[in-house]
Subunit: 277 residues, 4 copies
């Protein structure tokens, strides 16, 4: 309790504007912040394009300085108005906010570090925070739940895919290593195997021998077949959550058991009537 | 009421032919229109092929003029016979009809605008209108419903994909920007990232450094994994709609059994009449 | 009755061997036929490989003649033993059998028609007939049912994809047509659009302008999103068929209504008891 | 009984450490083994990279010898402590263990066989054994069950894909064989067809003629459509297993309500005890 500052007066108000979105000013702040983030990313993009970067260098440099100063003010504002500044500074968003502000200042002293401004792209993630206020919250929550529930399954799947790629990549290196088709080392063969199994298929490395093409065809059909697995996992998880909606969240007033069906009258665990008053 | 013209006599008849498909003449009109649209698109295609376009230029030009005049007649017919001409002219199909007719006339005065005739391809969308009359209406309605119900989820997903591509594209620019592998600017790196994540993989830009290939492999596996998300969304939505159609939620007033089919008259469990009063 | 020959004695026996698989001889015939078909395809393949085709030309030619004669005998055997020869000759399999036998004979008189022997690959389709005898029949039937039930939906989907490709292909031709990136005509642009939307991505044609790459990125994300649609269709269809298994096939002895649930005691239509004796 | 040695004392203890993971030492052994396997694979990879392989050849050679000796000790340990040594030696993992140890010894006598060390990558499969101890066991079991249950369906599907590829590959050879676009033989055309149908699309072979591109577009759309099939199969299988786990088929002996959860003790409808006798 002693470490948290008591927000009073203007600080309380600023906190509401910056961190919440119930008031008109709070909503405005979020929308403007979103626009400035998008603008800052567009500027960084434009500068990386050679023809534009050289012509409008001064203009873009000035625009980036303005945005950097705006971000600095916002960063300081966030620290001042929050109850526990330290936990904000070392939070996920706090670190991103810091990293997207500091490179421009460093570039004053060290030449070449300027490209780090690109870290600003990470601020886009804040969009999700802002969107949380909107109607998408339910949808993205359901998406996240389905993904989180199937994380373990998807990890097992991805690990299997990587093991398969290491083994088949090694096999392809043994077969194609001699020829001139780009399989110059095992890591590169594994890279090729991932490119093929995921059906990306750049074509910068492609098997040239007959046996290599045969195995490549096998890998492709394998990849074509096992792409069904993550899809099946997420589909099933999604359907399951849908059905869960028909399972309600009340607990039995007698034994506390949860997960009753929507139309349940009695607890499936102890037989107690659920809707007594 | 004062603004809508009363269709009488031939106008009424023409309206039926052009806008409806209950009569024999109306059906014929739709089929002929479809054929002319397809023909006009084939002519535009053929003209764009150099060897054919140069040889048969005069023939194709004449054919396009005939089709343009037919479309003009149809366009005028639609305006005359509809009750509210203005709302047709500024409707989606009205604008498309206008845009697919006018470029040929403009090309008389301004050279080079001829390619705009290609806008005619948009008329193909009318096929859906015509097909509405056929047995596909139920199927495409169900498709549309499932897509519309999952629009919000798919938008959240696509937005996430774009944010991921911006961030990873920027990272790849920082890594591969120096080498000679095509990552010349951030927008181009983002383009590459989309090409990779969606498993298209042209190969016109491909990472050359070891770290770049490692991250590319990561992006591919990511793309391979998250392709499951939209699929899962649409699958679940589809299944949900299926279930909605077939099983209703009423319980038997006698025994309380649930899960009756929509058209059930009697309880499948005890034989009691379900709809007694 | 007058047109169908009565099979007696050896003809009856031959018919059983060729067309049925209940007897030992019938099974043997099917297995041998399958082996010869596969052999014949391997020979055709080998001959197309230049280094092998030139070296072993005489050997392969002799082997193909032997197989052609075997196929001819089988073809004649099928005609003789079947009850309605004409309906066999003009059936799907009858035409394939004829087409896979005749090219070798024609090649005696006309040089260059020899490559038509490749039509023999179509005989592989007979494998499905032979497999019908095996345990896969149930599985492939369920697959076919699910596909057939969703044919209309998939056709609507594919038609939409083709319309999208025609429109976007035309747009890309207008944008990239001037540059040197391979978009030389509208049909070729449409081809590129299909290559991109289906996430194949050869890279033989790839957009070079900024606007072109932007639209290409849009097409890719579109393709990545809508691949969910056919998957969703087939998934839902499959699940539905699974559930159908729990719907039994008995008809009500009173009113004849079908589609009762497995645990139904009374007809949902008329309330009659289903299991009376 | 006479052929199985009785493990006593240290042998019993070693068996527990090597084969089981209930004790602390057993867990440690598994973790260390996993690390050594991963290390050995990294060394093999590094050696295949030319720049590293030449520079650190001696160091890597020593490291590989140490790992080979460790593996040898482990292999001998496994033989000594297991009850039936022969059934281990000729088991799947026994053969892999042997194959990943022996090449290094052979390379002392025969030059060039060294690359066979890459077989060591197969030992990664042991990871699954070790993971069996972890929380992933349930997930991977469910994955395996779903895959095993749909094996027959997936095989029918893959066989169909291969037949389609053979037929379409042959057709493409007849069309593109004359031109200079890489369709030099039927096997190569089939390889191209698999590359295209699975949406990998290297671009090393790509159709050049108009008809070839038309058929290629058809193949792509086909591949885009039928990728839904394996996905649908696995999705449906997964959902089915989900349902199997959670809802049982018993009816309440009192009111006849169905759809009770597996762990239900009392009817959710009337509160009657479900398992009365």
């Amino acid at each position: 309790m002693s470490k948290t500052k008591k927000n009073t007066g203007w600080r309380q108000k600023l906190h509401e504007i910056i961190y919440e979105a119930d008031t008109h000013a709070g909503k405005m702040f979020d929308v403007i912040l979103l626009c400035v983030i998008i603008l800052s990313i567009i500027f960084v993009m434009l500068e990386s394009v050679k023809s534009i970067g050289e012509k409008y260098h001064d203009l873009l440099d000035k625009a980036e300085w303005i945005i950097t100063i705006l971000f600095t003010i916002e960063y300081i504002g966030r620290i001042i108005t929050v109850k526990k500044p330290l936990s904000y500074i070392f939070s996920f968003y706090g670190i991103i906010d810091f990293l997207s502000t500091i490179p421009k200042y460093i570039s004053l002293f060290f030449i070449g570090t300027h490209a780090l401004v690109a870290l600003r792209a990470l601020r886009l993630l804040r969009v999700f925070r802002i969107l949380k206020l909107a109607r998408f919250v339910g949808e993205s929550n359901q998406l996240l739940k389905a993904l989180r529930a199937s994380t373990a399954k998807i990890l097992v799947f991805l690990f299997t895919v990587i093991v398969i790629c290491i083994i088949l990549g090694t096999v392809m290196y043994l077969i194609e290593g001699g020829s001139d088709s780009g399989f110059t080392s095992i890591p590169r063969s594994i890279y090729w195997c991932i490119v093929t199994l995921t059906t990306v298929g750049y074509g910068d490395i492609a098997p040239a021998t007959d046996l290599g093409q045969f195995i490549a065809a096998f890998i492709m059909i394998l990849g074509y077949g096992i792409i069904a697995v993550p899809t099946g996992i997420v589909s099933a998880e999604y359907s399951r959550q849908d059905r869960k909606i028909h399972i309600n969240t009340q607990a039995c007033p007698n034994c506390g058991a949860e997960g009753h069906k929507d139309n349940a009258e009695y607890c499936f665990k102890c037989g107690h009537h659920l809707h007594e008053h």
